[in-house]
Structures are given as structure tokens and as C-alpha cells.
Amino acid sequence: MSELKRTQLYDVHVAAGATMVDFGGWEMPIEYPTKIVAEHLYTRHACGIFDVSHMGRVLVEGPQAVPFLQHVLSSNVKALDLNQAQYAIIPNERGGAVDDAYLYRFEEERYLLVVNAANTDKDLAHLNEQIKAYDAKMTVITGEWAAIAVQGPKSKEILQILSKGEAITEPVKNALNTLDFGGHTVRVAKTGYTGEPLGYEVYIESAGAVWLWNRLIELGAKPAGLGARDTLRLEACLPLYGHDMGDDPEGKEIPIFAVPLAKFAVSFSEQKGDFIGREPLTRQYEAFKRIMNRDFSDLAALPRRVLPITLLDKGVMRAGMPVYKGDKQIGFVTSGTMVPYYRHEGEGLQTVILEETAKRSIGLAILDSDTLEDDIVQVDIRGKRLKAVIPPYHMRVDAPPFARPILYRPEEEENAAASGDRTPKALELIGKALENHVWRQERCVNLIPSEMTASRAVRLLCASDPSFRYAEHKKVKSFYDADVFYYQGTEFIDQVEQLLVEEMKAFLGCAEAETRCISGQMSNTAVFSSLMDWKNRLDRKRDAKRLGYIMNNHIIKGGHLSAQPMGALHDYIAIDPVTERHALVNFPVLKDNIYRIDVEETKKAIAQYRPELIIFGKSMVLHKEPVAAIRKFVDEMGLETTIMYDMAHVLGLIGDYFQKPFQEGAEIVTGSTHKTFFGPQRGVIGVNYKKGDLKYGLWETIESRAFPGSVSNHHLGTQLGLLMAAYEMNQFKDEYQKAVVSNAKSFAKSLKAAGLDVAGDPANDYTETHQVIVNVGYGTGPEVAMRLERNSIICNYQATPEEEGFTASGALRMGVNEMTRFGFGPKEFDQLAQIMADCILRGKEVGEDIAKLRAGYTEMKYCFNENDVTSALNDLAKKSGI
């Protein structure tokens, strides 16, 4: 095997007793003495490391590096930001794949292209031919830099020891970073070929490769060979060139769109010009879209597609085995083996991964394009036809930090509701509702920052008569903008709404208020819809243009779901034609306090993107938003940016102790009325446009997007209750807001003193709002929150800005608002902090302590408790039968 190439880590593999094989001209470890199954499993539950230094690494630079890459890759290179990576295919003229590749942008002007080891020579010949037409150059650095894939749930904490605590990359796929590991400069990518939600590939200069490999093992990683790499990638349904891409078992070229990842890897952006394969790929894409719509009339461009396959009978599928549906051969297995997995028990968040393992025979197969999910097929395994099925996938990674195997199971039929007498069910429901009410109101300490118990007055009014009524109304210009109601019997309701609008205007400090939206999210939707409508008001003869750019807080940095493209922005935000992504830019945050916006960096981003809309506001909120500074900058720049503040979480804090958004320069404020405000659950929109302003038209649009745009019936019972809540708020806000903010600061300090890791800036006592965030350890948030719930402390676990998603969350988000309203002060919050520390740090059962603490605080403050109010409410309850 002397002619085989060896990586920087060859000697280490041999010393470790690895079985070395020829892989694409390289002498590589297929497995270590631990063997494939154990290496696979260790990667899934801890951390496997893989020598991937055999893969071809090419630097591309020069004035025309981007046009060259746009021409030879399937992806949109213009969309690749600094410190981002993208998957790409190197297409040929026929729309087949020369290879698949990853493109990394660690440096502004230089791109790193990583290709398959076995294809490197072929790829380079192809690329060298193409680059002649461009002022760009390629440098092969395969020998100069080693590459180690560090994959699995423990990978981040292991690498973070080497980075001395510095964040490895942003917690999103394809993020890059350059770091220092023990004096070695390393380039790290959150990429990999195992499907692990936590997985990195680390590039290091050759001289440091052995050192890094050995350090990783010392820190708990274990080497895994190419065998495990193959079973891992197969479980993740990642294609392998030469099996699931390239030529099929009959020697026919596999069209790129036959590969599931193609829809991410291929861009038809105008930016790409006439790239190699564009025309056949366009035809494949048209066929792909037809197939996805189950129109199988013209499959010429895409006769077969690569799909996951699971063997239901006992046996092992192998590449090349024919697949049948009935008597007809519909394709071949392209990759197949037996893959191990950990069994699990329990459901949902309570799912426990067991130590017990099992194996399943899974694969990928290239099959006729009319094959559907759940189709039963047969695989010819050495002459025997064994039953198999087409599953949607083999594994999911949307519950980090673990990749979760998905075993094929047919949908179970849901039980229809049993028939018979419902009286016992009705009684049971009432009993359970009472039980829940008593538990939540008398035994629990509620720390969910987005919740608030409403006063008795609010609750009674919510349930009283108008709650069954309709009161659609609209301003009519012919009647000098008088509101016209469409139904009779609405005089009282009309008065209530007018009074509510006046109370809300006074509270928000603005010119106009809309109170018909029944949630904060609906308020946002109505505003975004209005902004888009307003943008297009002078040209209604073509499709309306969407909004873009928009600046907001990133969801993982505490941004509010309702102000994201996956929330209320969904139908109103444009796609940037250059990046082919949402025209969204996020507020940069301070490096040393990720909960605070970096104003100077924000100004740079505003100057660059000139956003149409800036949305302040968060759901994980510790600080004031820099509204005034950004307003000033936007005005100085002369931008026509609309500044909005989504105050869902902090609506009830508007005032002297937090922020006055309109005074600081916000034009639009939205909020939900039941978080820090006094309930019930509704939304509100305030604007500061005045009659005669150009943008007063935008306000009128907002009114019409509330009704009839968002609601027909605007829930009159809770609107009545909200008027009472607004009276309470305007009456008591000074004491309430002062108490909330000082209680939060005091609670944070007590938690810190009790030994918990409180997030935020100690200089501000960790918080300027009602919220306190406590870090309880990566991935442990759900467990700790459930433990607290068992002990009647209700809060929610939340991913911090450094974590991958809610199942990986390591923080608790708490709000003092509701307990403040029940009379908790610094003393009670200090007691609570001690009890929580006992439960979180020492695993103590504290339910009784909590019940005792809570028992003294069941009477609501900051509401009308005078005797005459109480007797009027008793009268209302009695006479209304509520």
C-alpha cells in the first residue's frame, strides 16, 4: 500500500490499533479496536472524532473568485456571509454531479472549498479548466492544514475547554469562527457528516494536528473511523458521492435534483448567471416541483429520486440490491447497512434515552419518482424479496443536543370520541377545572413572565353579557368618521370601547390606539399588514411588494416570536434576491452582554441595510431598548424607516421605571395586555401619528387591518374586562411598576447570593425589567423546570443566545410581575430564592415550603379593593349568575 497517501494523523491511527484501508487513494482508519457500532453510538451520546484530513481542501481567491465559484457551484455564493458555510454541488453540463462540496468563508476575500477525497483529482482537473476564464486562483492546502471532525452532544463542551470558554460558533448550522486553541489558530465550522445537531469540523495547521487529536481524546472524545462515519451519515440521510450521487448501480448518471439535499444546494438566482448545468437543472427543478405536487405525467428530467428506505423484515440491505413494487422493479438500494441506536422510553420532553441499544436495517434507494412516503416495497436480498417501507426520514435533529432516531411506525388511528351520556364528563371537567384553579391560584408560585392573574373585577366583567355579542364597527367618512355599528344592542359596548381607547392612549402616551386585536401577535400581524398595504397604496394594479429590509432581535437572542418571519412577519417580509433569504437583519448585541443591543454596530447595520422597519422588543428581556439613540441616528441619516416597539412583554412597565417608547421616538407600539399589564388576554396597538401627518394614513390602514382585516368579532367580554384592567393600571401603575422593577433586581441578587448563576449585567443588578434569567446548565433547562413544577414553582425553560434550541436550553426565564401583584416584596423573593436554590442545586423537595410561602399571599394588590367596589362586584356576580 506504499503508493497510498497518508494524512497528518496516520501514525496516531496505527498506534491506536486502527484497521487501515484504501479509501479514495488514502490509507485511512475504517475502525479502531472499539469497532464501528461502539464508535457510532459514542458519537451519538458523547463525542466522536474523525480524521477528515483526506478530504480535498482548496483556497479560492482573486478579484473574480466569486464569479468563478458562482459558475462552477450549484449554490448562490453571493448569499454566503463572512463566517458562514454552505453546501454545494459541483454540477456538470448534463445536470449530474461532478462531486458535492462545502464552501467556507472564514475570510472576507478567500473561500475554502472542501471536496471528497476520492474525487479531488477529478474535481481539480474540472475546476482548473474552468478557472482559466477568470481572474482567480486556486491553492490546494490539503497537505498544509489537517481537518478533524468533532461530532456529538459533548462536542461543544469539549471544544469550549480548548477555547477557554469562548463561544465556539454561533449556535446555528454552518456558522464559522476562528479561534485560538492552546496557541494554535484553528478555524472551526459548525458542520459535519454525522447529522449531529452539535458537531464541528476543526481545521488546524498540520503541525498542530496530532496535538489537537490527542487533546480531544484526553478531554473525553473517542476516535471513530470511516465505518462509523458511513453509518452515521446514512442514518442522517446524507448522500455519499459514488453511492447516492454520481452514477446509479446501473451506471446511469443520477440527476442532481434526485438527491434530497439538492433543493438547498441549487440556486437559480440571477446572481448566478449562466452557471454550469443551469439549463438541465432548471428542467429537473420543474420536474421536481411537479413530482412534489404528485403530477407524475412528465418524469423525463427526473425519472428516479433518492429516498430513505427501512427494511421491515429481518436482513440487511446493501447498495446495488434491486427494489420492487409488486412485480415491477422500481430502482436500487444505493446505500444500506444495519445501524445501531439507543432505545428510548417515555414521550415528548419526558423521553429518556436508555443505555440499551438495538439495530435497524436502513438505507437510501434510488426509486421511481412516483414512489410515495409510506409505500411498501420489496428489496431483493440475495434472491429473497424482503418487505421494506419508504419512511419520511431515519432521524431528526430538532430536539438538540441529541440526534433522535425515528423508527418507522405506521400512523395509529385516533379513537373517535366515545358515545353516550356526557353528564359525567361535564361533572368531571368542572371538578378538574376547580382543582387546577386552586392549585395555580393558591399553591403555586407563578414566575412565568408572560402571565398575570386578572383581578376579580376583570374576571367577572370578562364573563358578563357582552362576551356573547357582536359589535362590528367601522369609521365612515360620509359621517365625518363616526363609527357605524352593524348590529343593534351595542350602545354599551360602543361606550366601553371608546373609554378603553382613551385609557390606552393615556397609558401609552400616544395619539391613537386600536384595542380590537385579541392578542399581541394579532396586533403585530395587523401592523405588518398595514405597513405593507401602505407601502403599496399608490400602485394596486400589481402584486403588492413585501417589506424589506426589516431589523429585529434574533429569536435566539431573545427576539419575540411574534416579530419573526416564522411568526407574524411570515406573509409580509420580502426575500432578498441576492441572498435568497428573508430581507431581515438582526440587531447586533454586545459581546460581553448578549442581552443588550450594541448601538454602534446597530448604526453600521442600519447604514448598510437602510431598513424600512425597525422592530424593537424581546421576549427574553433584561434591558431597555435603545429607542432614542436609534431614532436620532435614523433621523440624522434621513431614512424613511418606521420605528416600532413590540412591547408584548413589557407593556405594563411603560412609564417612569422602564421606558416611555413614544417619548423616545417610537412611532408604533404593540403589546399584549396580560403579561406585565393586568389582563385579560388581548392585544393593543398605539401610534403617534396625528391628523394631518402623512403617516396618519398608515394609522387608518391599521384600523382597517384590525377590522375587518384581523377580527370580525373582537371578543367583547374581554374587551370590557380590559377596560377595568386599564383603570387599575392607570390608577396603580406608579406603585406597581416601581415594585416590579425593584423586586426583580432584588430577586436576582438573592438568587445570585444563594449560589445560582444569574445572567445579565451585575452593574444593573442583572435586570431592568420584570425578568430574571438563571443559567442552570446546558441542556438541563427542561428537567429543572419540570422539577420546579413538581414543587409548585412555575417558570419556563428557555434557550439562551448560545444554545441550539429549546430542548438544549440551559436557562430559566422568570418574571416577578404576578407574584408582585399578589404582594411579594424583597423579603418574600429572598425566601423564594433560597427555596429555589435548595430545589435546583440540592434536589430538595420544596412543595410544602412553597405552599406555606404562597398561603400568605392570595389577595391581589394594585386593584380596587374598597368595600363599595367589593359589594358592587358581589351584586354583579349574584345578579348575573356568574
Binding site: 484497521t19 469497532k35 464501528i36 457500532v37 436482513g315 440487511v316 446493501r318 447497512t337 445501524v339 445501531p340
Partner: protein
């Protein structure tokens, strides 16, 4: 690696344990399981199958590949180790305990070696 002296070995890496003059137990050697890697599936013969020395009578699959297991003798399958169907990894963990088949009515053997000879054979 372990090669018990009381067993006989074939050049195809099976072991043979004599029960009586015409009955043997057959399995794969420690060397074989190590070369094959993690075994994940076994295709056992059926009791009653007639088997011929140095011809395939069973196959085992590792994560990597499928391999035939050759019969070290000519005879009739009397019994198979059904446990291996659910736990083929027993072949890796305990190759001499994890017998594959009991073969009776043995009329002929293929070429067999002693433990010492086999050790020398695989060292080549």
C-alpha cells in the same frame, strides 16, 4: 487472540467441536469475528439442511459487508443457535460460546488444523 486447544479449525476460519463420532458443533473463530467487525445479522441454515464440506451453509453480515460461512464438514443440520438471530453480536463477544449449528450424520470433514497450526496459518 484466543484459540482453544480442544477445537479444530478450518482454513475458512470456522471452528469444530466434536460431540461424538458423527456430531459436531460449528462456529466462527476469534480471528474471523475480529476481521469481520461488528456482526449485525446472521442468516442461519434450517434444521434438516444437508451441508457439504467447504461449501457455504450460512452467512453473517457485519456493518461493512456480508460474508459466507463455509461448512467444515458434510452432514445434516440437527440444530441451530436461534439466539444469534436476535443477538448476532454474541459472535463477536464470545466466538467459541456462540455456536452456529450442530451438524449430525457427519460423513466427511474438510481440511482441519489444530489450534497451533491454525495460529501459524493466520500469522502468515
Amino acid at each position: 487472540m484466543n484459540f482453544p486447544a480442544e477445537l479444530k479449525y478450518s482454513k475458512d476460519h470456522e471452528w469444530v467441536k466434536t460431540i461424538d463420532e458423527t456430531t459436531v458443533l460449528v462456529g466462527i473463530t476469534d480471528f474471523a469475528q475480529s476481521e469481520l467487525g461488528d456482526l449485525v445479522f446472521i442468516n442461519l441454515p434450517q434444521p434438516g439442511d444437508e451441508v457439504t464440506a467447504e461449501e457455504s451453509f450460512c452467512d453473517v453480515e457485519s456493518v461493512k459487508a456480508v460474508s459466507d460461512v463455509m461448512s467444515p464438514c458434510t452432514g445434516v443440520v440437527a440444530e441451530v443457535n436461534g439466539e444469534l438471530e436476535d443477538e448476532p453480536q454474541m459472535l463477536n463477544e464470545d466466538p467459541y460460546g456462540a455456536w452456529i449449528a450442530k451438524i449430525s450424520d457427519v460423513t466427511a470433514f474438510g481440511e482441519l488444523m489444530t489450534a497451533q497450526e491454525y495460529e501459524a496459518f493466520i500469522a502468515k
